[in-house]
Structure formats: C-alpha cells, structure tokens
C-alpha cells in the first residue's frame, strides 16, 4: 500500500478512527507520519487536519462560508481569525473564538465527541462558583430520589445542605 499523503513511499503506519460509528482509515509512510506527529504525544495529531477539514466542509456545505464575497466573513473580533481560516487549519486563534463561532460549534463538537457539554473537572479558583452550582444540582437530584423513596430523615439532612450551599453561592 502506498502512503496516502505523499503517494510515493510504502505506507507503514495504519490506523482507523471511529467516532459515532463513522470510520476513517489512515495509511501513511513513516516520514509523513513523523512529520505530522508523534507516536506518543497526541495520538490523533497527524490526522486531525484531514479529519477536521472533512467535517468542516460538510458543515459549511450550503452556507456562505467561502462562498460569494458579498457577505461579511464570520470573524473572531479578538484575534482576527475567520471561520474559513479555522476550517482550513482546524485550530482556533484564541479563547474568544469559542464564543465568536459559537453558532457553528455545536454540530462540530457533536460530530467529534458525540457530546456538546463538558462534564469533567472544574478548576478550583476560576470555576469556584460553577463547581458549587454543579454540586447543588447533584444534591437536588439526590433529594428528589430520597423523597421518592420516602427516606425523609435523610431528605431533611440534604435539604439543610442545599440551603447552606445556596447561601454560599449567593455570597461568593
């Protein structure tokens, strides 16, 4: 098999990616794979560009991205990156790109991750309030369950905790 990147050397590195049941195969020679990324660093690094431009083109089909120049290109005001630049490189320019391109982000994230919302670590300091809010949500859920199971003693304890947490959130 010949390398799909340079079309010259034999492909010695092969792998398949499947996200949400969509299968993409990659066959590269060692040189091309080496240029694109490291075995160890980010396993998907060297295919991300292909993968993303595929996804982004799909998303862009039928919209004005890269289309007639009469429309103002979608652009991040903070860093100046346009959406079409992003769709070529697959890389954002700054944190605010996430808000600037928000309208187009959800379907893209859904396609890559199968999810659109974070549910992992929340940083202590900058995410303090967020963390408390998530905790509160969790407690309220538990409370419902206790009430449903008629475990009223424990439900009362939870209710106290919830009150306290709500105070904390109001004051922080």
């Amino acid at each position: 098999m010949i390398c799909q990147e340079c079309g010259q050397k034999p492909a010695t590195i092969h792998f398949t990616k499947i996200v949400n049941g969509e299968k993409t195969e990659f066959h590269l020679c060692e040189t091309c794979a080496g240029e694109k990324g490291d075995m160890f660093s980010s396993p998907s690094n060297f295919t991300i560009n292909h993968l993303l431009s595929g996804l982004l083109n799909f998303n862009g089909a039928g919209t004005s991205i890269g289309g007639p120049s009469t429309e103002k290109p979608l652009r991040c005001e903070t860093c100046g990156l346009t959406y079409s630049q992003f769709s070529k490189s697959g890389r954002f320019g700054c944190v605010d790109c996430y808000t600037s391109f928000a309208g187009r982000l959800d379907p893209l994230l859904k396609r890559i991750h199968g999810n659109m919302e974070h549910s992992g670590k929340v940083p202590q300091r900058s995410g303090g309030k967020i963390k408390l809010k998530k905790e509160l949500q969790e407690l309220k859920l538990q409370l419902q369950q206790k009430v449903a199971r008629e475990e009223f003693e424990q439900a009362a304890k939870l209710r106290d905790k919830i009150k306290q947490l709500e105070k904390e959130i109001a004051h922080s």
Binding site: K17, E35, D38, P43, F92, C94, H113
Partner: protein
C-alpha cells in the same frame, strides 16, 4: 550541567521503577491541554506574547508550592542543539511539533523525567505524566495535582459549557489524553490482534502501532488512548481505558499460555533465534531491531531466557533510535553507519549484561 544528565541517561529514571503488569503495559501516560485566558493560542501569538507565556509559567514553576513537589527545571528549545532536541523527542519528553515548529517553545522537566510540561506547543500548556507499568489513575492524579498548582496562580481558559478551551476542538472539555503503551507479541503471533484492535476502535478508543513489512507490527508495541475529551469526566475516561486495557492484558496472557502449551518448541526456537541474531549480527536495521528485541523481551518475561533484566531491553529500545546512536557516537552517521553502530551497541550491551 543538568542538561548533560538529562541526555546521558537514555532511560529516564521513572522507567526503572516497577509498575503493576509491567510485563505487558510498559507505561501509562496522561496529558492535559491547558491555555491561559488572556493570551492568543500559540498558533497566532507574536514572539513577545509567546515569551510572556513562558515567563508566567516559569514564575509558577519557581514558586515554593511547585518546588515542594520535587525539583523541576525549565529548558528553552532555542537553547538546545538539533541533536539534543531529537534525543528529547526520542525519549518522548517533547513532541516533534514542539521541537521543530514552536516559537519560544520550552519544556519543564521533573528530575526523574516522569513529568514534562511543554510550553507553547499547540496549547500554552501540555502537562504530561508518564509512569511505568499500568497505573493510569495514579498518573491522572499526578497530572491533576500539577494542573491545580498552575490554576492557583494563572488564569486558565475554562467555560462552563465547553470545559477547558483548547486550540484544537478535538481536545476541548477535559483536555485529557490518557494512554497505555502495550507489548502484545502473543496476540500478534496468534493472529488475534486485528480482531481485538477492531473491537477497541468501536468503543471510542484509538490504537496506534508502527507496522513493519507486511502486516506485522515492528516491536509489537501498541498505544491505546481515548479519543473523546468532551462530555465525560476524567475518571470515566480513565476507567473506560483501564477496563479495556485490563481485558487486553488477559487476552495477551492467555495467548502466551496457549503458545507455551501447544507450540512450545517452535515458539521457544523463534524467540531464541532472535536472541542469537541480536547477540551476533553486524548490521541491524531499526525495524528488525524492534522485532528481535520484542522477541527477547517476551523470552525474558516468560523465563525462557535468563540473565537479562527487562530494563536492559527497555533501555535498548530507546538507545537504538537514530538520535541516540548519533549522540552516543558523538557525530552524524549515515543510515548504513547507523545500522552497523546499532548492531554493535546491541551486542555490547547484551554481553555486558550477561557478565555483570
């Protein structure tokens, strides 16, 4: 001074540690991608902005809290020679991207090299922890702790909906990439590997291996990692990878047992032949070296060949790479010279190990 130390030892100190199931899982790795809120991502940063990021990170690394974790040192890529960078890449301390394409790139290394923090790679911070053997949760806890220290004093880009914001949307959310490096020679020999790897691919994990001629993987080394970073917690991601790895370990052990039970003579012959070649060959290409060393490692793990420790073979796997060979020889080598040098190095290392 300390740079010499980093380069002199091919094997990072952490590799000498024993880890659980280290006959099959060589290492566990966790990488976290993080960015500073008030700076453009490295791709669009000016040199001054990139340098500012290095300075802000350096301040944290120098803080008392951070140094309480152990000794950490910051190295700027601009101060390294091309060969030094190559060696760092071969030791997996930095990525080829940081070595070749970054501007004002830097790396923070712990003394035992189990922790390396890349600055101005694709993201401002890439915190990576590498532990020997199968210790994914421990590796994550270490990375988490270092992440907390940075977050204490730096404004990390995070939003409630998307989690940690990264330069590439494939890393957003947790920013975590957890992986295990597995040695699976018996699954390859018994031709079960394709079926197993296909199954792994179906469940959102990625497998990478380097293939030699035909379909056989050089070195029988496979890296398995999570693909999805958004929508699952770090613990869920780690537990999922842990569970799958555990199953593959069982399959590999079963395949080893079955080879010993049903084809012992042929199996032993194949492994011992490889040892004979390693101990005597005058020319050794890197692919063949990887295959033969994999055989030797398996023979040692199964007690078919005695007198070597697994560490020696780990060390050789690192040493036989082009950058190390040239470092070791003190000069640039042509590919032919490298193959001869590689063969010599392996012969010498193996005979020295037997004498000691």
């Amino acid at each position: 001074m300390s740079l010499q130390r980093f380069l002199q030892t091919a094997v990072s100190e952490w590799m000498n540690g024993e880890g659980p199931d280290s006959d099959i899982v060589f290492s566990s790795r966790v990488r976290l991608a993080r960015n500073l809120r008030n700076h453009p991502f490295p791709l669009l940063a000016t040199d001054t902005e990139a340098d500012q990021v290095v300075q802000e990170v350096e301040q944290v690394v120098r803080s008392e809290e951070f140094q309480n974790l152990g000794r950490y040192e910051l190295l700027k890529l601009d101060n390294l020679s091309a060969l030094e960078k190559k060696v760092f890449v071969e030791k997996h301390l930095i990525s080829p991207h940081l070595a070749n394409e970054s501007r004002n790139g830097a790396v923070v290394l712990s003394e035992n090299e189990a922790v390396s923090i890349m600055i101005n790679e694709e993201d401002h911070l890439r915190i990576q922890c590498l532990f020997p053997g199968f210790q994914l949760m421990e590796t994550w806890k270490m990375a988490d702790k270092i992440d907390d220290l940075f977050e204490n004093s730096l404004d990390i880009a995070f939003d409630e909906k998307h989690g940690f914001l990264t330069s590439c949307p494939t890393n957003v959310g947790t920013g975590i990439r957890a992986s295990v490096m597995m040695h699976l020679p018996a699954l390859v020999m018994t031709q079960q590997i394709t079926r197993i790897l296909n199954a792994i691919n179906q469940i959102g994990l990625v497998v990478r291996g380097i293939y030699g001629e035909g379909s056989e993987v050089a070195g029988n080394l496979f890296q398995i990692s999570n693909q999805i970073t958004l929508g699952h917690s770090e613990e869920e991601i780690i537990e999922n990878l842990y569970g799958v790895t555990k199953q593959i370990i069982e399959h590999e052990r079963a395949a080893r047992r079955s080879l010993l039970e049903h084809n012992k003579l042929q199996f032993e012959d194949r492994l011992c032949r490889s040892y004979g070649i390693l101990a005597n060959a005058r020319i050794m290409e890197s692919k063949e070296a990887a295959t033969r060393l994999s055989d030797l490692r398996l023979a040692v793990d199964l007690g078919l060949i005695t007198g070597f420790s697994a560490h020696i073979i780990n060390e050789l796997m690192v040493l036989i790479q082009p950058g190390f060979l040239q470092m070791y020889s003190g000069k640039e080598l042509t590919p032919e010279q490298r193959d001869a040098r590689r063969a010599k190095l392996i012969r010498e290392r193996l005979s020295a190990a037997l004498e000691s």
